[in-house]
Assembly symmetry: C2
Homo-oligomer: 433 residues x 2
């Protein structure tokens, strides 16, 4: 009898490590279907770019490390094909059965090749595993493609576009929706498009791709295609075992990351979590959330009682050196969630005029009736991560705009202007409220 | 009858501008003793360094601008020598009397030449006004000094040391206390000393300077001396008029920045403000606070009703490209304030290992009995301002460590590791609590 964890990347291994911390004697088995564990999936675009030279640099831990140092049995190439909760066992592709007392499902997500004819052509790639990235890198070297189409303008899509452009390719990004970065936010999409175009990457929104031809996609000639769209949580295994999914299509969990089946936990990209601003479940697949929910699931599966309060939806992506960061709700999302949002957007300097400033744009969104801060975005080559994190902290504290406008932020000419752009945006928003 | 403001730099001009916003018709007079107004005092070290080429670059507004655009009468060379509150008038050095209905005192602070014999020698400088910086710059050009002593290891002291070293001088910093940056924080002092020494600046703590000789200070040979110590609020004018000072020696104010005399307000470096962590008045002279308290004083003096909630003591200083940032209380300060502090300090990376990370150190302090966060510090060449601002925001929200440890911070390889150093420090602190 043991704790069995399905999945050996961010959430699964976080769960395993935290379970070991909670219980030094528990038998812990991690079942990973792929050939390697513990790789930094977020680093794959930088391997494609060439900045990361060898895929091994992206691997943090080996199965041997977990076996020796943590007494955790990590098995690669161990694909689970079914879960029988009444028998408390999982069945592997090999036919082997592994019994569990507690189970953590960390099966992740995948991008959607299905529904696109021609997605199996040899010049079509995804960027999900080390193997994917390795094959794409090999293709770049061997075939020297000149024109790439990236399907999807989410994080991985724009990072892939950046990486391919830096390799000298002509790149076109095709996005089905009208918005980049999966955020219904017109100003953000305009800024992303502008930054991509400044580096000669073409972003076309509102283009649905149903087929990949041998030499073109949606009329755009190309000899390389990266699919970075249609991400869906891997929930089939869980569903067949009676684990319920929620409104987002991901596995429903409580604040202890436990599913509807007692003793069965879920974590990472396959699981729903609470959105602290709306109080509703969301599925936003990110490495940070995978690590955090993995820890909570692992601790609780090992008998502890940890709570995951939720996320505020903070993320950042770099496009040719510029940071595009969001947290909480956009004005449009806030309206959909039943708020009466008011937004303010400013463009400011990151340092005093006399100290070689860069430009940055800050948008804040608040609820008109209460003044509560609901979200924000920051765009800039300098300090975007720090500034979005301040907004994220304020969201977690359920701060109101008037208090945010009084924040005592650090000032010194090499680091910021005396009125930080965050405060300027808050002052503007106070006027609009 | 008018609003009279004594002082034409950060706090005074913020007060004037905000008073105008509150009341378009009020008569507003600003009396500045010096020859210029509205200069970025925090930029003076960068003018000494040579990065800022002309002192005019540091001037934001001219008296003409205020006169024409804001209908504010700004007088330079107008030194107030006394205030008669019963008559509601101030008297200028010239003998002229100016009547007021409301008064804002923004007389700033000065550094203490007094008590040091030889402070009036021609090779001794302070860095308080544009004129000070201009004279020092001229001296550097004309005399080509080779060895400098800086008295005081506060912000201006270390910035001056950095600027002089970059001009090729040998620099020794002498600090009376055992601590750099005015913070009783041994780890911070060690880090400052290390960074200064890496750039061949010698920091000696525990050295009291009573006399400046022609060719040496406290035994250190030198041909240039900068006094950047003994800062004291300019309160004599106020005191003589019956305005009370508080425990810090600065002018006592309520949350509307009003003094004990009705209709008389104080703002900026000469005034006390509330420290949000301790609930006690402090006097921490900084440009950010001067601007904020100036606005509140000006608005209220013009008939509005604004409130200044206080500060958490956030600041940052750059020393040879490294940021040293603090907010809230150090462990030692927390103990003095009656808390039972617990601290945790970590050294972490600012990005994943595979993405050329820099190092950063984060310290967090919390109260053992409640778990409430009390303060923190961040040292690093990358992201120190953003990280200290996250801690500052949490302090303002009176956040506890367990909540801080769950912050949803932005992650992407070019910007941060998946576990931000802030979160690693919080996890360490949770273990120590």
């Amino acid at each position: 009898m043991a704790l069995v964890i399905i999945g050996g990347v961010a959430a699964g291994l976080s769960a395993a490590a935290e379970a070991r911390r909670s219980d030094p004697h528990l038998e812990i088995v991690v079942l990973e279907q792929g050939p390697v564990i513990s790789y930094g999936a977020c680093g794959l675009p930088y391997f494609v770019e060439g900045r990361v030279r060898a895929p091994e640099e992206l691997i943090v831990y080996t199965p041997e490390y977990f076996r020796k140092e943590r007494k955790i049995d990590v098995r690669t190439g161990a694909r689970v094909v079914s879960i029988s909760h009444p028998r408390r066992e999982v069945r592997l592709e090999s036919g082997e059965r592994v019994r569990y007392e507690r189970l953590v499902i960390a099966t992740g997500a995948r991008c959607g090749r299905s529904g696109i004819t021609g997605a199996d052509r040899p010049h079509v790639f995804t960027l999900h595993t080390l193997d994917d990235a390795g094959r794409l890198r090999d293709f770049l070297r061997a075939r020297q493609p000149r024109r790439a189409v990236v399907i999807g303008a989410g994080y991985i899509g724009v990072e892939a576009a950046d990486a391919l452009r830096r390799n000298g390719l002509e790149v076109t990004v095709l996005e089905r929706s009208e918005h980049a970065l999966l955020r219904h936010d017109a100003a953000m999409t305009v800024a992303v498009k502008k930054q991509l175009e400044a580096h000669r990457v073409d972003l076309r929104c509102g283009v649905a791709v149903d087929a990949i031809e041998a030499d073109r996609v949606a009329g755009v000639p190309c000899d390389l295609v990266v699919i970075a769209a249609g991400f869906r949580p891997n929930v089939e295994l869980a569903n067949e075992a009676g684990v319920e999914t929620g409104r987002t299509g991901a596995i429903r969990t409580d604040e202890h990351m436990e599913t509807n089946l007692s003793g069965v936990y879920a974590a990472g990209d396959c699981a729903e979590v609470n959105h602290i601003v709306t109080g509703r479940p969301v599925n936003i697949p990110l490495g940070t959330t995978a690590n955090k929910t993995g820890r909570v699931a692992g601790a609780n599966a090992a008998g502890a009682r940890q709570r995951f309060a939720g996320i505020v939806g903070t993320s950042i992506v770099g496009i040719f050196g510029m940071g595009f960061a969001i947290t909480g709700l956009s004005e449009h999302e806030a309206r959909l969630e039943g708020f009466t949002p008011v937004a303010a957007r400013i463009e400011g300097r990151t340092r005093p005029r006399y100290y070689q400033p860069a430009n940055t744009a800050v948008e804040l969104v608040a609820d008109r009736s209460t003044g509560r801060l609901l979200g924000g975005s920051v765009i800039g080559s300098d300090g975007a991560a720090g500034r979005i994190n301040v907004i994220a902290t304020a969201l977690q504290a359920k701060m109101h705009v008037d208090e945010f406008a009084r924040l005592d932020l650090a000032y010194s000419p090499p680091f910021s202007p005396v009125w930080d752009p965050l405060l300027l945006a808050a002052h503007r928003l106070l006027k609009n409220l």
